[in-house]
């Protein structure tokens, strides 16, 4: 690397310029270098381990391999598990300590909406406290769903989109195998 050179484009040449957007470049860079802060509080943590380990390799493939246990060095806050009222101030402070740009992924139903813990001690969804970018429902979510969520987040980062997104199931893997409803007037 030497001194900066000034490049002058000659307008008389017909093919002498290229266009791009700085935002797009930054978005592309950011979406492939998500340093994660795993805020793991409950049983979804087991699924998180499975996701990050070799069988699914769900984070390294997407440039989100390196965990950073300092909020100042991380971009993506994974909230994995139930958040109790007692933990809420901690979570909020960690979110506030993260540097912009920052994103939050709610891993599992408890982090998304509290799940079945609808009681005196549980925060019914982290979006009551901090903004959340991607919700991955499931108890726990399948690794595919989390990878879906991560890719959804990458899309949103690339587009500069800050609206929250929810991972939806493509199809029920057990459809046709398990019959959940028994009706008397079924054709069988």
């Amino acid at each position: 690397m030497g001194e900066l050179k000034q490049v002058t484009l000659d307008a008389s040449e017909s093919s002498g310029f290229a266009t791009t957007k700085l935002d797009a470049l930054l978005g592309w860079a950011r979406k492939w270098s998500l340093f994660k802060y795993p805020f793991v509080t409950a049983c979804c943590g087991m699924e998180f381990m499975s996701l990050t380990s070799p069988r699914f390799d769900g984070t390294a493939r997407f440039g989100a391999e390196a965990p950073r246990f300092s909020p100042r060095q991380s971009d993506l806050l994974w909230v994995v598990g139930t958040i109790s009222q007692r933990q809420a101030p901690v979570l909020k402070r960690i979110y506030e300590q993260m540097m912009e740009p920052k994103w939050v992924l709610a891993f599992g139903t408890c982090a998304s909406c509290g799940g079945f813990y609808d009681n005196y001690t549980t925060v019914a969804g982290i979006d009551k406290i901090i903004p959340c970018d991607v919700y991955v429902p499931g108890c726990p979510p399948r690794p595919e769903a989390v990878i879906d969520g991560l890719m959804l987040l990458q899309d949103k980062i690339a587009r500069g989109d800050k609206t929250p997104g929810i991972v939806k199931p493509y199809q029920d893997p057990a459809a046709g195998v398990v019959k959940l409803r028994r009706s008397k007037d079924s054709s069988e």
Partner: protein
């Protein structure tokens, strides 16, 4: 199996043992709260009893009874291989006189259980060296496992974001409706105010 324990207790303490019953192999003695500690000390120290292992201690709220709170203690003897369940009922309708002697100088392990019972049900254990909340936070008001604690009352430490601030509805997410996720039939059971109304 350990009905003998109940027999000994009845013979030794007489009227202080209010009732006993045995079903499904569980032997229970309901004792007068005044002699709670004496019974416990006897159960631990008597060579016939030698209950050397503290198993569990908790509180149960029966809002229709008076006294309403039942303190339940489970003990096991590793030498004699027998167990016993000890109960005492304390506290009137307004939780007055809801106190019983601490037994954490008999079994050290009882300390955290007494703190839990104090935290969730509101039983005061006299003589406990450090009776603070153990599960809930110090700012919490009331005792959440009392039946008249409203089932949908939360006491957030962090003020919740408003929907305007968040820009999206903060109710339940898609698969859940607003009325779902609450397994209790008594969403507000005999709602009693806890100060902030």
């Amino acid at each position: 199996m350990s009905e003998r324990v109940l027999e000994v207790l009845k013979a030794k303490f007489g009227d202080a043992v209010l009732r006993t019953h045995s079903q499904f192999g569980d032997d229970t003695a309901i004792v007068d709260p005044k002699s709670w500690k004496a019974v416990c000390r006897f159960l631990r120290d008597d060579p016939q009893m030698s209950f050397d292992m503290f198993t569990d201690l908790c509180g149960v709220d029966f809002p229709d009874r008076n006294p309403r709170i039942e303190v339940v203690l489970h003990l096991y003897s590793t030498q004699r291989r027998h167990r016993v369940r000890l109960k005492c009922a304390v506290g009137d309708e307004d939780m007055g006189g809801c106190e019983v002697d601490s037994i954490c100088d008999l079994w050290v392990g009882a300390s955290w259980f007494e703190r839990e019972t104090y935290d969730l049900v509101g039983v005061t254990f006299k003589g406990h060296p450090d009776l603070r909340r153990i599960l809930m936070y110090p700012e919490f008001e009331g005792h959440p496992l009392l039946k008249d604690y409203p089932a949908d009352r939360t006491q957030p430490l962090v003020p919740y974001r408003t929907e305007a601030e968040a820009g999206l509805p903060l109710g339940k997410l898609a698969p859940f409706r607003d009325d779902e996720g609450m397994p209790f039939p008594h969403r507000v059971h005999n709602a009693r105010e806890f100060g902030d109304s």
